[in-house]
């Protein structure tokens, strides 16, 4: 079933919309959730919450890109869940490793501004940065830092050595840091 038809079902409040979106995107969202949470049980909860959020969001929303829309919800819910669960314990998923890598991109704090505005500014800078990268590097970056995939998984899926993936990400992080600094972004 195509995305437009699924969205139409949400608009008509048909419960079959949940089945349809689950059939099409449950595995995609589950993998994102497991990568962040490192726990299948928690990921399942996130998946259910994701459907609930979408049910409440459509209507009035009519997302242009359903995959990105549902993936983003699953990602944010996973982050929220992880935040709640974190009690000083070591995270089981990719999240801790990813945060540690991203620290390299951040310069020392100099400014403080509204969190939402800040996020929008950073996102705009990220969009510019990503537009300037070649397609393969961009996909690897998004797979690692948006979908929270493990480096080993990326290496296998892109047919590269683990070392090459690490090197690509390492160089991109350095470039990103410079780009953020050039935009005056010091987190």
């Amino acid at each position: 079933m195509d995305d437009k038809e699924i969205i139409d079902r949400f608009w008509t409040r048909s419960e079959s919309a949940i089945t349809a979106i689950s059939d099409k995107y449950s595995k995609y969202c589950r993998v994102i959730a497991i990568n962040i949470l490192g726990n299948a049980e928690d990921a399942e909860e996130v998946l259910n919450d994701t459907y609930f959020r979408i049910w409440n969001a459509i209507p009035p929303g009519r997302p242009n890109n359903l995959r990105a829309f549902i993936g983003r919800i699953a990602r944010n819910l996973s982050l929220d869940k992880l935040e709640k669960k974190k009690t000083g314990k070591r995270g089981g998923g990719q999240f801790d490793a990813i945060l540690s890598e991203l620290e390299e991109c951040i310069a020392d704090s100099r400014n403080s501004f509204d969190e939402r505005a800040e996020s929008e500014v950073i996102t705009a800078a990220l969009n510019t940065f990503l537009s300037e990268q070649n397609a393969e590097n961009r996909r690897i970056f998004v797979r690692r830092y948006w979908r929270a995939a493990s480096i080993e998984e990326i290496a296998v899926d892109f047919g590269m050595s683990v070392g090459k993936v690490k090197t690509i990400l390492f160089r991109m992080r350095i470039k990103l840091r410079k780009h953020l600094e050039s935009e005056g972004i010091y987190l």
């Binding site: 595995k27 995609y28 589950r30 497991i34 299948a40 890109n65 995959r67 990105a68 829309f69 983003r72 944010n76 982050l79 070591r90 995270g91 089981g92 990719q94 999240f95 801790d96 490793a97 990813i98 945060l99 540690s100 890598e101 991203l102 620290e103 390299e104 951040i106 704090s109 969190e115 800040e118 996020s119 950073i122 996102t123 990220l126 969009n127 397609a135 393969e136 996909r139 998004v142 797979r143 948006w146 979908r147 493990s150 480096i151 080993e152 998984e153 290496a155 296998v156 899926d157 892109f158 047919g159 590269m160 050595s161 683990v162 070392g163 090459k164 690490k166 090197t167 390492f170 987190l187």
Partner: protein
């Protein structure tokens, strides 16, 4: 945390990048040649030492035949029981520098079985031909997996239920039940997965199926997943490695040729003693260490120096009595040990002792 703000901001990047990534992956998954990399033997061996392979992988993939002694292969078992071909396909299918997949593989299904999976913290991969020998699933003089010598798993082989497949590149595996193998009931190293084939529903197996008709497949432990930055003590603890639990330590040269296998408890204790008590210095610091070591060499000499650095490496595989293996790469020239995403530096005294134990000729 600052990086969390960045991670959150990345969550809002333009939809077009998310679509591009998803479409790119789909394209890669449809690419048979790429699929041949999925469980190349070097990758399986490399999984626990993945982070260390920034330099190491180059030399491994650059030398053909390192993992295929006598042309038979140490490779992952790619021959499906219902394949019409009795030939061993391992060499071409798994060696990235070998002949192209198209040239020898009769059809695509030989490659698709090469998916592993994750359950809890553990990563499992399809059993290799050599592992079949190790566990007595094939005659010692067999030259490769064929439809005639593939061990057919029955319900009698199923031990206690261990859990379910939580994640896999083969999405049809997710949710499949995982069992201990009754012949090794205490081992987490060899397990059986109910691959949920149509055989169980009484329907005939489609010709394109990648799994056996019995509906069960052997998998073996490949490493812990998502360990992140850990001290050496934490890594050893996660793998249940202690002097009394270790059965052997195997040392390989960088070309994967055997150097020494250590079973003596005193030596095992000494090696573990050297590994213990180290904090992770991180990938960046380790790369800097490597680059600093290479700095004195000019453009022409640096390639040879890098080769020298690689050739000196030792691969250390610690095997527990339950069959679980933990691998490290030891770089004697920079005195570093690495495993997973963690990097440790040895003192000069420790490095001297380690060189002796691992028979490093500097």
């Amino acid at each position: 945390m600052k990086s969390k703000r960045l991670f959150t901001a990345i969550g809002n990047i333009d939809d077009k990048f998310i679509t591009e990534e998803a479409e790119g992956i789909a394209a890669v998954k449809d690419n048979k040649v790429m699929r041949s990399f999925r469980f190349a033997p070097w990758l399986k061996l490399a999984m626990p030492v993945a982070a260390c392979l920034v330099i190491a992988v180059g030399i491994f993939v650059g030398q053909s035949g390192l993992f295929t002694p006598n042309g038979v292969g140490d490779g992952t078992d790619f021959t499906p029981p219902n394949s019409n071909s009795g030939s061993n396909l391992n060499d071409s299918a798994v060696n990235p520098s070998g002949p192209s997949v198209e040239s020898t593989a009769p059809n695509d299904i030989v490659l698709q079985i090469a998916y592993g999976f994750v359950m809890g913290d553990n990563q499992y991969s399809p059993i290799s031909f050599d592992e079949r020998k190790k566990y007595g699933l094939v005659e010692q003089d067999a030259l490769g997996s064929t439809p005639d010598n593939i061990y057919v798993i029955t319900e009698r082989d199923l031990g206690e239920k261990m859990g379910v497949v939580e994640n896999s590149a083969d999405e049809s595996l997710i949710g499949a039940t995982v069992y201990h193998y009754s012949a090794f009931p205490d081992s987490d190293a060899i397990i059986i997965v109910n691959v949920k084939t149509l055989a169980q529903t009484g329907e005939p197996m489609p010709q394109t199926s990648v799994y056996s008709e019995s509906g069960y497949e052997f998998y073996t432990f490949a490493g812990k997943s998502s360990l992140g930055s850990l001290s050496s003590d934490e890594i050893l603890e996660d793998y249940g490695i202690a002097v009394k639990t270790v059965s052997q330590i195997e040392v390989l040269a960088s070309d994967h040729s055997p150097v020494v296998t250590i079973r003596d408890n005193v030596k095992i204790s000494e090696i573990l003693g050297i590994i213990r008590g180290k904090e992770d210095i991180g990938l960046v610091a380790h790369e800097e260490l490597m680059q600093n070591w290479l700095k004195p060499y000019d453009d022409e000499g640096v390639d040879r120096a890098q080769l020298f650095l690689e050739v000196g490496q030792r691969w250390i595989t610690i095997t527990s009595k339950t069959g679980i293996e933990l691998s490290f790469i030891y770089n004697p020239f920079v005195r570093s040990l690495c495993t997973h995403d963690s990097f440790y530096i040895l003192t000069e005294d420790d490095a001297i002792a380690m060189n002796t134990l691992l028979m490093v000729n500097q």
